[in-house]
């Protein structure tokens, strides 16, 4: 069955004569296969993006027609709405704590499991389990109880309940995210396994210790995977909602300390019916995520190392 020795042109030779027709047929067939995606991309992605940009310049409450107000929403957001800025700062703080913590845990566990001979499969699955359950309302409610006044963490550390303390409630939310390090861990582990053992052997021959090997072999070889995880988890963290909603009983408290960006957007749009304002917020979020992603991509040139670039 192996026909790899035959060059591709030769393999196509029997079909060469009627080649034209199948080729065009394939183009048509491709669009049939793509049609659900194309429809979705237009009706549920591109069109909504354009509409939400338009609505961001209007006053709109879902019931009466949108009223053009120009930059009003943006001006109000940036200059007259302290709660907006509060939500921005809260979200940035959350991203800066949750993402590095989560990725560090993922990397440490992946490194610990890497060379393991027995039990690797078990640990991999067990450490991954919280990631699937943790996104649920059930676990968010558990989190609130465990970090509440009189909850386990209070009993253990005498914290007096983080959920009620403005400085600490956000940390509880960030810990819930960090706890779900399964997905990046599994990706790290797969990446670690693709590093050729010869590289470590060569480094050892050159007299590199474990730490030196980690810095000179593991980190550069793992950098594409690290970058992938960093981008994906950062984008996701900007959109955190459920744990903040549950921990603060849907209010973003105490003292707006867990009022993350999406929760304030939900509050403005779907509770207060200011759809125009919420659309403006959504567009700022889109721009910020776009900028952050672009910056990450730009800085990645200096630290992400693609070893296999040559053979692709």
């Amino acid at each position: 069955m192996t026909t790899t020795a035959i060059p591709p042109e030769a393999r196509n030779a029997p079909a060469a004569a009627p080649k034209r027709r199948p080729q065009r047929e394939r183009e048509g067939a491709a669009w049939v296969f793509l049609s659900p995606w194309v429809l979705g991309a237009i009706v549920l992605t591109l069109l909504p993006m354009a509409v939400s940009l338009y609505l961001s310049f209007t006053d709109y409450d879902l019931f009466s027609p949108p009223k053009w107000v120009g930059l009003r929403n943006y001006v109000q957001m940036f200059t007259e709405d302290p709660r907006y800025w509060r939500s921005v700062v809260t979200t940035l703080m959350y991203v800066l704590v949750a993402v590095p913590l989560q990725l560090a845990l993922a990397l440490v566990v992946a490194l610990a499991l890497k060379g393991m001979k027995r039990g690797k499969g078990f640990y991999r699955s067990a450490f991954y389990a919280p990631s699937l359950l943790g996104a649920s309302m059930s676990i968010a409610l558990v989190w609130r109880a465990v970090f509440n006044d009189g909850g386990t963490v209070d009993n253990l550390l005498g914290t007096g309940g983080w959920v009620n303390k403005p400085g600490w409630a956000l940390l509880a939310v960030a810990l819930l995210t960090a706890w779900q390090f399964g997905a990046p861990m599994v990706i790290f582990l797969a990446g670690l396994q693709q590093i050729p053992a010869e590289l470590y052997e060569a480094a050892a021959v050159d007299g590199a210790g474990k730490w030196r090997q980690f810095l000179s072999v593991t980190v550069p070889m793992l950098s594409p995977v690290l970058f992938f995880n960093l981008v994906l988890q950062t984008i996701q963290a900007f959109q955190v909602f459920t744990p903040a909603f549950a921990v603060s009983a849907g209010k973003g408290g105490p003292a707006d300390s867990t009022l993350v960006y999406t929760m304030y957007l939900y509050d403005r749009g779907f509770v207060a019916s200011h759809m125009g304002y919420a659309s403006a917020m959504a567009w700022v979020l889109l721009l910020v995520i776009g900028i952050v992603t672009a910056v990450l991509f730009r800085t990645s040139r200096s630290w992400v190392f693609y070893a296999s670039e040559g053979d692709r």
Binding site: R11, Q23, G40, S125, M137
Partner: protein, 286 residues
């Protein structure tokens, strides 16, 4: 250092320490789950006051209360609603994402490069950028407070992550198989259904499981689209406990939480191999 036993011993101790460390970390990590299970069986007065993880006696009445339902809606109704939404989403994603993925992975068409780049970019697009107009569209169509806004988008391959996942998988399949099929007279449709799709099964299973679990756990979309209590899912029913501060509601609340997590746990136990490998392959290859 000539005797092998001398060398082997410290290595072994390192192994043991590694396992002890991993198990200790797991204990801490799985504590919230144990706590959830224990609390769902605790009598009301022990929920907060007691430091013990284990209840003094098993309070099955929490589950009885939970099974009675929430807001006069029976738990079977909530369960059926959750299953309907998750099942519809699975069907939609598997069909639409595999179709799009086949075109991107295997067929030639104009604008393939830019469209693929656009598809990848939508993975990074925050949901909120399209949320409000989507809501308005479904509102205009009179579909708010129905399940359509939760299911219909999945039939249009809007979850680009899965398209990407299946593309990655299909690219790894040998091209010779399709070429052989073509020589035997198969058009693109037959080679998709009869040659490529059966081989793509692992990726489709991964898509199905992730879709099920993510849809089941999804809270935000359900929160904005559904407001009739008898249309609620288990997740939304739990929301009514969000404001609850009285400890008397705690037992039944966590009993309901356990019930809501049960399908995910079962899915996880049955399919963890696909889940873990599917996730691993999404970050590799390029």
């Amino acid at each position: 250092m000539t005797s092998t036993t001398v060398v082997r011993k410290p290595v072994r101790w390192g192994r043991v320490a590694l396992h002890v460390g991993c198990l200790a970390a797991l204990l801490v990590m799985l504590y919230p789950l144990a706590w959830l299970l224990a609390t769902s069986l605790k009598p009301a007065d022990e929920v907060i006051a007691s430091l013990d993880l284990l209840p003094s006696h098993l309070e099955w009445s929490n589950y009885k209360t939970a099974l009675d339902g929430v807001n006069d809606v029976s738990i079977w109704r909530l369960l059926a609603n959750s299953l309907l939404i998750a099942g519809g989403a699975v069907l939609g994603n598997v069909i639409s994402c595999s179709l799009a993925a086949y075109a991107f992975a295997r067929l030639r068409f104009r604008f393939r490069g830019p469209l693929f780049a656009f598809m990848i970019a939508t993975i990074m697009l925050p949901h909120h950028a399209v949320l409000i107009p989507q809501y308005i569209i479904f509102n205009q169509l009179g579909l708010v407070n129905t399940y359509w806004p939760l299911i219909l988008p999945k039939f249009l391959a809007t979850e680009a992550f899965f398209v990407f996942l299946i593309v990655q998988f299909m690219r790894g399949l040998p091209r010779e198989l399709e070429e052989a099929a073509r020589i035997d007279g198969c058009g693109p449709f037959r080679s998709f259904f009869q040659v490529v799709l059966p081989l793509t099964r692992p990726a489709l299973i991964t898509t199905a499981i992730f879709t099920f679990i993510w849809t089941w756990n999804d809270f935000f979309t359900q929160l904005i689209y559904l407001f009739d209590p008898d249309k609620f899912t288990l997740t939304l029913a739990l929301r009514s406990f969000v404001d609850a501060s009285s400890t008397s509601a705690f037992g039944p609340m966590f009993a309901l939480s356990v019930i809501a997590l049960l399908p995910i746990v079962l899915f996880f136990l049955a399919f963890q191999r696909f889940l873990v490998e599917g996730m691993a392959s999404s970050g590799l290859k390029g």
